[in-house]
């Protein structure tokens, strides 16, 4: 049954809520930009991940401002912030916490759970690949279930909860690549690139003066949760959804949608979590750009970040120096042609 009728023609500016959403997001970007110079795409994708409640894996060489970005986001969003420097001797209890024996003045002794740094809104897992797989896996339940179980007791994490992990692509000796299950729990994998000359000039001017600009709080945790709910309400057309799903299937070498590079170099394609990530991120992007529907452009923009860590290459790809980006570029081109 078609639902048509007279629509009161009014500018969307006259709808306070929609206007407020757009203004808030613009403010967030502007505040982050005060402390973190340039790389607007990276910032936008970080905001998108936050609006979706997704975790982000940042990859970049040291000194590019990964930690600064995460800390700034924490400041802007008025969220509690914790940082864990992952090292090989880091233990799971160092992350999630442990039961400690406490003695009361009355002489009684009891175990009391001492919360670890994971109990925060924004967790920066710095150089996450330097910890052992056992320690890395301590984050699995926290990232997926938003809770921690210790000694049979389950402790919910504060909402919203984000894990922003960084890893260094160089100095790979003594590192432990993240297990596939944990990598799949990251919504995005983002690359932090070196700033260009203009950005670098701005960075120098800002950080070497007598005053360092600080980002102020713009968005509360509750407001962020509301935004997360709003994102899920964004309508998605069937043909756009199908395009996203085709894109995910195209990363599987044994499907009819697979591209030639995928068939040759991909060992394992993206999981359904990848499709979820694409659609949700596309909705957030649409809202951030002042639209109330998901477009094909949204899908194409967020797909690489959502798929690049979910596509596993085979040995032939390494031998031929084929990167995931090459394969995803072909997949995107194939989807655009259709």
């Amino acid at each position: 049954m078609d639902n048509y009728g007279k629509v009161k023609r009014m500018a969307l500016d006259s709808v306070p809520e929609s206007v407020e959403v757009r203004r808030t997001l613009d403010k967030v970007r502007a505040e982050i930009g005060k402390a973190f110079v340039g790389q607007t795409d990276l910032v936008d994708q970080m905001i998108i991940a936050l609006m979706c409640g997704g975790h982000v894996l940042l990859e970049g060489v040291p000194g590019l401002g990964k930690t600064l970005l995460v800390r700034t986001i924490g400041q802007v969003l008025e969220l509690s912030f914790s940082r864990i420097q992952f090292t090989p001797d880091l233990m799971p209890a160092d992350i999630i916490g442990t039961n400690v024996l406490l003695s009361t003045p009355d002489g009684e002794r009891s175990f009391q759970f001492q919360k670890g740094p994971v109990f925060t809104h924004l967790l920066l897992a710095d150089e996450i690949n330097r910890a052992t797989p056992k320690t890395q896996s301590a984050l699995l339940e926290a990232m997926q279930e938003m809770r921690v179980t210790i000694s049979g007791n389950t402790y919910p994490l504060p909402q919203p909860f984000f894990v922003l992990a960084t890893q260094n692509p160089i100095e790979m000796e003594g590192t432990y690549p993240l297990p596939e299950a944990q990598v799949d729990r990251f919504m995005f994998k983002l690359y932090v690139h070196s700033p260009n000359l203009e950005d670098l000039r701005t960075i120098i001017n800002r950080t070497t003066g007598d005053t360092v600009p600080e980002a102020g709080p713009v968005l509360s945790a509750n407001r962020l949760l509301e935004l997360q709910m709003l994102v899920r309400e964004v309508p998605l057309a069937a043909h756009v959804r199908d395009a996203a799903l085709e894109m995910v299937l195209a990363t599987h070498p044994d499907t009819s949608q697979a591209t030639p590079l995928v068939r040759q170099y991909v060992r394992l394609g993206a999981s359904p979590r990848g499709a979820q990530s694409i659609v949700l991120a596309a909705k957030a992007r649409a809202l951030m750009h002042g639209r109330f529907n998901v477009s094909m452009e949204d899908i194409r923009e967020v797909a690489p970040a959502a798929l690049r860590h979910r596509v596993l290459l085979n040995f032939a790809a390494e031998a031929d120096e084929i990167r995931v980006e090459n394969i995803l570029a072909e997949v995107m081109a194939s989807a655009a042609a259709e």
Binding site: Y4, G5, K6, V7, R9, L12, N293, S295
Partner: protein, 478 residues
């Protein structure tokens, strides 16, 4: 909140124009396919048949066009596809399509963002201009349709070289070649009749031209067959004095008729030397002589309107009585020059030449089946079957002359005298006429050939026999 009606109307207008555009595109494709098909079929068949096949091409063209239109997969247009088209053309980032799709969903409760989407889509209605979005233009290749149409017209008009179908049907080719030889022989004999007569020369020229065309294989065999058949028909009709109908072969029938009339006028000069009674007697004697010699088809060659006047002078004798019968024919008791004349012509009949034969090519009915069963067989030699028309005439003749009368007379030293009541029978409504001797003469070559073939004459002697008969010239006896 629902989707705006104005927006829906704009989308529907785009949808209608898309369908119209597709229809136009399909028609253009069909026209293009029809033109290409016509051109290809026309050229192919034209080259194969030497210009034939125009009608087949004309039938194949619309069939191909319709088939092309029906088999070409067409896009399915819906309101949603129209909305997607609008989004794509106006770069609206799937706003309209998403709104249209969600407007058709029967949600229990619509969320906030959906309502904002409908409002947002309605605000973009003013951008939608159906005329500009879907221009009703024919596709690029349709520009070639007009030149193609011109080409098709041109292909129907241009002359085509000799078709390859000449290479098909060797037996037919032999028949046609044989006809060509006979036409040329006929032309030669026409000229020998009266070399000074321009009409005969013209007719001979026409015959020779046709014969050479056939011999040089410049005509498809089907057309040659038709040409020969009609030419024989015209000639036969001309020779018989019948109506000449049809002129579809480029032969000037009026001229043919005129020329054959000229031939008849030449013959009439010969017959005018005889009295009417002598002419009747001569004809009857010739017929009897021929029948008596065992050529049942000889008399049958006469046409229905060439019914012979019955001279009931008892000229029903057998072959042995030929000379005397003829001598007594007509006047009943006057032997003399006329009788001599009659016996000579009757003698020609004995030799196998039917003086009643009209124009015609011998054996035509054998070669072209029943289509060719004209009176030409009357001029053929023994064993040639007569046409059905001649048979009918023969029966009519029996009706006209139900019985024969015995002659009474006496033989004296001075000669034989017969007496008999002389009477003639006229056919009501028909003009009594004689077959022309010269017209019968034209069937001579065919008759000779038939005789040669049917008598199993050794090939070494065939030329001698053929030469003998071809040297016979009517003018020499005159």
């Amino acid at each position: 909140m629902v989707l705006d009606e104005v927006l829906r109307n704009q989308i529907d207008m785009v949808l209608r124009r898309q369908k119209a555009s597709d229809l136009l595109d399909a028609l253009s494709r069909g026209l293009f396919a029809a033109c290409v098909t016509f051109a290809c079929v026309r050229v192919l068949l034209g080259l194969l048949t030497g210009g034939q096949g125009g009608f087949i091409a004309l039938l194949a063209a619309p069939a191909a066009g319709v088939t092309f239109i029906l088999t070409t997969p067409r896009r399915k247009h819906t309101r949603l596809t129209a909305a997607r088209y609008i989004d794509k053309q106006l770069k609206l980032q799937d706003r309209i399509a998403t709104a249209v799709e969600h407007a058709t969903l029967d949600h229990a409760a619509r969320n906030r963002v959906e309502a904002w989407l409908f409002m947002d889509a309605a605000n973009h209605t003013h951008l939608i201009d159906p005329v500009a979005l879907v221009p009703l233009r024919s596709p690029a290749y349709a520009r070639w349709s007009l030149p193609l149409l011109g080409l098709c017209v041109l292909l129907t008009l241009i002359p085509y070289p000799q078709g390859f179908t000449w290479q098909l049907g060797g037996s037919q080719l032999q028949h046609i070649s044989k006809r060509a030889d006979e036409l040329l022989a006929l032309a030669d004999q026409l000229e020998r009749i009266d070399p000074q007569n321009p009409h005969l020369g013209q007719l001979a020229h026409e015959l020779r031209r046709v014969g050479e065309l056939i011999r040089e294989k410049q005509l498809p065999h089907s057309q040659a067959n038709q040409l020969l058949r009609q030419l024989e028909q015209e000639l036969q009709q001309s020779g018989d004095g019948g109506n000449i109908a049809g002129n579809s072969l480029g032969l000037d029938l009026a001229r043919v008729q005129e020329l054959t009339q000229s031939i008849r006028s030449i013959n009439s000069g010969m017959y005018s030397q005889l009295s009417p009674q002598e002419q009747v007697a001569l004809s009857q004697a010739q017929r009897n002589t021929t029948d008596a010699d065992g050529y049942p088809g000889a008399n049958r060659g006469t046409r229905g309107d060439d019914r012979q006047p019955e001279a009931h002078a008892g000229a029903s004798g057998n072959a042995e009585e030929n000379e005397s019968d003829v001598g007594s024919t007509g006047s009943g008791s006057q032997p003399g020059d006329t009788g001599k004349q009659g016996s000579e012509e009757a003698g020609a009949g004995e030799d196998g030449f039917d003086p009643y034969g009209g124009f015609g090519l011998a054996g035509a009915s054998d070669d072209f089946d029943d289509e060719m069963g004209y009176g030409a067989e009357g001029g053929s030699m023994a064993g040639t079957e007569g046409g059905s028309q001649g048979t009918t005439d023969y029966e009519r003749q029996s009706d006209l002359n139900p019985g024969t009368e015995r002659l009474s007379g006496q033989i004296t030293d001075s000669g034989q005298y017969y007496s008999s009541p002389t009477s003639t029978t006229s056919i009501p409504g028909n003009q009594l006429r004689f077959p022309t001797a010269d017209s019968s003469f034209f069937s001579l070559p065919g008759g000779v050939e038939n005789a040669i073939q049917q008598e199993n004459i050794p090939s070494a002697y065939q030329r001698w026999i053929r030469d003998y008969f071809t040297k016979i010239e009517p003018g020499a006896d005159r």
